[in-house]
Each structure stands twice: as C-alpha cells, then as structure tokens.
Symmetry: C3
C-alpha cells in the first residue's frame, strides 16, 4: 500500500480556478435536511445547483447536467427509483455521478440500494469511515465494522473499493483520504465545529460531484474538493464562536476563497 | 406597447403598510430547497407562512388561506396532484394563487403541468426571462427560447401572457418588469449577490402571493412585492461581503424595512 | 388544580449536563420546513439528529435511537404510514417518543392521525395553546376552541391530556407550561422574535424528545428542555436586531449555554 501524499497548493489553485471557470451545473438528488446548505455551498463556489427529483424529470435532467450527486440520507422507495433512473440516464449521457452512502450498513433499504449503485460506475464515492467500511464490507463479504480501528481500516477499505469499482473514493474525517486504489492523498485541516453544522459532509459530496466534471486527473480534483472545504472550515473556525455563525461565515469563506489560495 | 413606468415610493409604502396590517396567511406549496428561507422571508414581512402539502389537506387549507403559492421546483406526480387540488379549491374559495414556473420548458412533467395551470386563473405569475419565454412560447405555439435576446423578448412574452390569461406577470432579473398586459412597471435594484443565495427568487414568488391578497390594484401590489425584495437586497449588499451573511442580513433588512421606505 | 411551580436553576443545570453527557441520538420524523434548523439545534446541544423517513427504515431505526420525534407539519398519507411504523417500533423497543401535533384541529388527515397516536403512549406532547386545545377537545368530545381564553383553557386541557394518556404535556407560548397532570411547571422567558424564525417551536419539540431519553424525572427534564430554549432565546434577543441574525445567534447561544447556566 502506498503512503498518502499531500495535495500541492498549485494543484488546489488550479482545480479551483477551473471550477470557477466551468461553473458546472450539478444535479443534486440529496436528502431533505441538507438541500439548502448544499445549494448555497455550490453557489458560493460559482457552481450551479439544481434539485430535480421526479423519476422522469431526473432522467431528462441528468442528460443536461455536468455532474450528478446521489445522497441516500432520506431515502424512500420512490426516491430510490428516481435516483436509479437518473444514474442510468447519466451513464448513458456520460455525465459523471457521485455517491454519498449516508448511514449505509445500518439500514436495509439504503444498504441494498448502495450495493446496487456500486455496479453502475460511480465517478466518486464520499463517505465517513463507517460508511466506507460498510460499503466495502458487503462488497467483499466480510468483517464486522465495530471491531475495527476506523481510520486505518477505512483507508484500506477505500483503496479496495476504488480498485474494485474503478472509482475515486474519499473517506473523510479528521484527516480526509482520497484514493483511486493506487495513489492516495491525505487532506488535513477542517474544524471540529464542522461536525456541529448539519450538511457539511453532504455538501462536500456535492462539491466532489462538481469537481468530477472537470477535465484533468479526477483523483486530484476530488482531493481539491476536500481541501476547498477543509480550508474554508479552518478559515471560518478562526472567525466564529459557535455553529450558527459558522454556517454563514463558511459560505462567505468559500465565496472569497480564491483570494486566499 | 407602452413604456414601463417606475413604482412610486408612496405606492410602495402604502402596499407594504397594508401587508403588515393584514398579515396574510400564505399557503406555500413550494420546492424542497427553499422552504425554510421562504417561510422566514414571509415571517420577516409579518405575513404567516403555512406549508400544507397532502392533496386533501391542501384543498382544505386553500380555503382558509389568504393566498396560495404554487412553485414547481421539485415537482413529483404526487405533488402535481396535490397542487392541482389546492388550486381548484383556491379558485372555488376565491383565494388568489400565484405560479412560479421554475425551470419550465426544459422538463416535460412541469412544462405540461404549468400549461395546465395557466388555464386555472392565476392571480400572478413570477419567473425569470427564460421561464416566462417558455411559458408564453408553448401558449402561443411558437419560437425557440435560446435564439432570443432575453430581456426584450421576455417583456413582450410577459405582456402577452398577462393579456391571454388575464393575470399579472412579473419577469425578474437585473431589472424586474411587472405587467398586466396593458400597463408595465420596471423595478430596478437588487444585488448580484442575490443570485448566489438559493431561494431569493422563489421567496419573491411567495411575497408576490402575499401581496396578491391585498385590496386595491394588484398590478401595483405585485410591483411593490418586487421592490420590497430588491430594496432589501440593495440594503443588504451594502452591509455584507458574501452570500452566507447575505441571507441572514437580508431577513433583518426585510424586518426593519418599514423604517427605510 | 395545583399552582404551577418554577424550575430551579439547579435542576436545569443538571438536566442540561446529563443531556450533554448522554448525547442522545434523536430520530426526527418532522416537517419539510424545519429539518435543517431542527438538526442544527440538536447538534448545538451536543445531541445527534437523524432523519430517517422510509417506513421500513424508520421502523429499523426507531430501535437504535434514544428518542423519536413525530411532527405532523407536512403530513402526507405515506408519511403517516411511516410515522406509525416508527412509533410502533419505538414502543416495542422502549424508545420514548414525542408528538408535535402541528396545526391539529383544522385539517382532517392530521387530526385523525394525532388522535390515533394519542393511544400509542407518547412520552411527551409539545404544542401551542390551540393545538393542545384541539387535541384535548377531540379526546373529550367537547368544546369549541375559538371561544376560549387560550392560556387558561390550554393549561387545563394540557393537564387533562397528561392524565388521560399518562404523558407529559408542554403547552408553549409567552409562558410555557409543562405538566404531568398532577404537577405543573411554568417556564417564563423567550423572546417575541422567536415567533419570526420558522422552526423554533418544532425544534423545541425535538429538544423535548432528546430530554425524554434521560434517566430521572421526565417532567423536570421536559421543563428543562423548554427552559434551555427560552433561555437561549433571551440571550439571543439581547444581541440581535432581526430574525435573520437571530437564527444563527440562537444556535451559538445553545452551543455556549453551559457557561451561562
């Protein structure tokens, strides 16, 4: 297993510049709790969010969009069907799509659905250690999650997932790891306060989706997505005292980030 | 075609005063992304929002409410049926209803539904140039949207729509135009930062709905709705540096607007 | 009828300390408008929110969670069925569940559902005076709501409900009353600005749900939940000028509340 590398500041600046130039249209099929914050994060980065959720409309829209996000946080059977239609249309149109397997493992409907989605060529997967372990665990038919040391085990699981499904996996936590199964980057930074604002992880997945639409090396762009968010988190944490003011200052930090890279 | 006029400050003050006095109950059937911001915008203006979405309950509620908003941003088949039931109940009860045809034109389900709704006597329609062009285009069986110069074409389309359906149409952008097909008002102002905060347009439609409930000339009240939002946007843009702080300062500006008119 | 007592500062501090230590996982089945704010309020109090809404998943999750919230604000038939499945699973697992009967009385679907839910042993009920009166009215087959003086009548209705269903009822307004039908506590405080921020009442219900999971006397813990929110409201109202800045400052106040008790 290769040692994780750091992302260079030059690469970060280049990916962010490209994102702002391209201003991708990101089709978000995400959970009820984080819709507004997700849209505002994308807008602050000069991308365009669009939430289209009906099965037929979502399939139509996945063809126009530059990227698609599937987040199973508040899955229902109807939403599953609409998401599947959108993923299939995205594949057909060559639109990259990103999976956020929220709380996979514990709940049957989403676990089965995420396993099904793994076979449909996600461009990227973004989850926390438990989620990545749960995804990989079922994929390889194996071990219990709770008995493992999370950070190490999740990195190894992420690398395995990336190789098995030819995708880029971001496993996020105190340090984020981004891997294509061969190369791995470590992204430090962020702030503990980010865990006290709902939707920071889910919004990161939308940002990952936005960055998958860029030309160039996807592994580096996904790492840049993680670093953009962790950097904005660090800047914000120096300015605020609580999670309420964090949420709005974080959006301002994303908006002005080009000046600080 | 008559030249657009400006809205007088006296009329703006009168409409806003009336809104605060009447504090209308606005039944919002709107998209998933903007629910919270829409409710907070109405509350900041002393109106009362209520989101009731089940078909049967929505039909019951449309009878109690002072105004109804239909926003098709995250339409599904079930929501379409519930919205239709609410609009029919609103019509029966004499409750004015407002249409926000989000992304109409590009997506089949909502395009067909909005065309159907046009025949059900909306009190007002609020959309951006592309949406108003798409609505009018289908109504008159005609031209492609992309080849047109947006601002001019949308004004003309808005005037045609207003005449065809005996309604007030607000087409919003850098300058907003509000027309009943005979008279047209131009509403300048606002801030580019408003396009970086999700829901400002959708919330404006809810404010338009609130103002349609007022006694007096509807054209002027709808113009006042647009000006209330653009004025609060201007005030806010002078105070903040990014879209995160914009959203909360904007609500504060609406709350204190009576002192600045 | 006993006279309401005040909650002691010592009891408030003890309940809040216990909440932070236990950091309960609160399963929220709540309305579309308040999801984000509800989650952020729980996070600011060091609790963990989880919104799981599919009928099958919700029933699974109600077994893991420390508490369940049912809020009928944007009820649909599908959501009713999912909520019922979750409540039944919660009962089986011994997970306490809290009812927020938003706008009960006026609308048939939710009124019938809330009446059904009353028979399923809620640990707590949190509503405004009209809602508590409507719930009790149907339960006892009686009086019209509009003709009553709200505060007094609702207190008596709350006490009756608490006795009839062996639960704790919080009826909130300028002064909140919390009763188990025998003892009643009065919770003053808060701020009128709270009524201009959508979701403060709904989030209080989620906080009540969180506090029902704590060991010890439930009546006192529910009263502490109300006081935590009213105290944060008072602190916030001294710092801000409008409802937009209120929402974020309120979360910061909850986050730092341990220092001010």
């Amino acid at each position: 297993m290769t040692q994780p590398n750091l992302l260079s500041t030059a690469q970060l600046a280049q990916s962010l510049l490209l994102l702002r130039q391209q201003a991708p249209l990101v089709h978000c099929m995400t959970n009820d709790v984080v819709q507004t914050f997700t849209a505002n994060v994308l807008l602050a980065l000069h991308a365009s969010p669009a939430m289209v959720i009906d099965a037929e409309e979502a399939a139509q829209f996945a063809g126009f969009a530059d990227a698609l996000l599937i987040n199973v946080g508040t899955l229902t059977r109807d939403r599953r069907d609409a998401m599947l239609a959108a993923v299939q249309a995205a594949q057909k149109a060559g639109t990259p799509w990103t999976l956020d397997p929220v709380a996979v493992g514990a709940l049957t409907l989403r676990t089965e659905f995420c396993q099904q989605l793994l076979g449909l060529h996600p461009a990227a997967i973004r989850g926390n250690a438990s989620e990545i372990l749960a995804l990989a665990n079922q994929a390889t038919g194996g071990r219990g999650v709770d008995s493992l040391h999370q950070a190490d085990a999740a990195l190894s699981a992420a690398q395995q997932l990336a190789r098995d499904y030819d995708t880029v996996v971001a496993v996020t936590g105190e340090v984020d790891y981004v891997t294509d199964g061969t190369q791995t980057l470590a992204i430090p930074g962020g702030s503990p306060l980010m865990t006290r604002v709902v939707g920071t992880g889910c919004a990161l997945s939308a940002v990952v989706a936005a960055f998958t639409s860029l030309p160039g090396e996807r592994l580096l762009h996904v790492a840049a997505a993680c670093r953009v968010m962790s950097l904005a988190g660090e800047i914000t944490a120096r300015q605020v005292e609580g999670p309420g003011s964090f949420a709005s200052a974080f959006l301002d930090a994303l908006w002005t980030l080009e000046m600080t890279v």
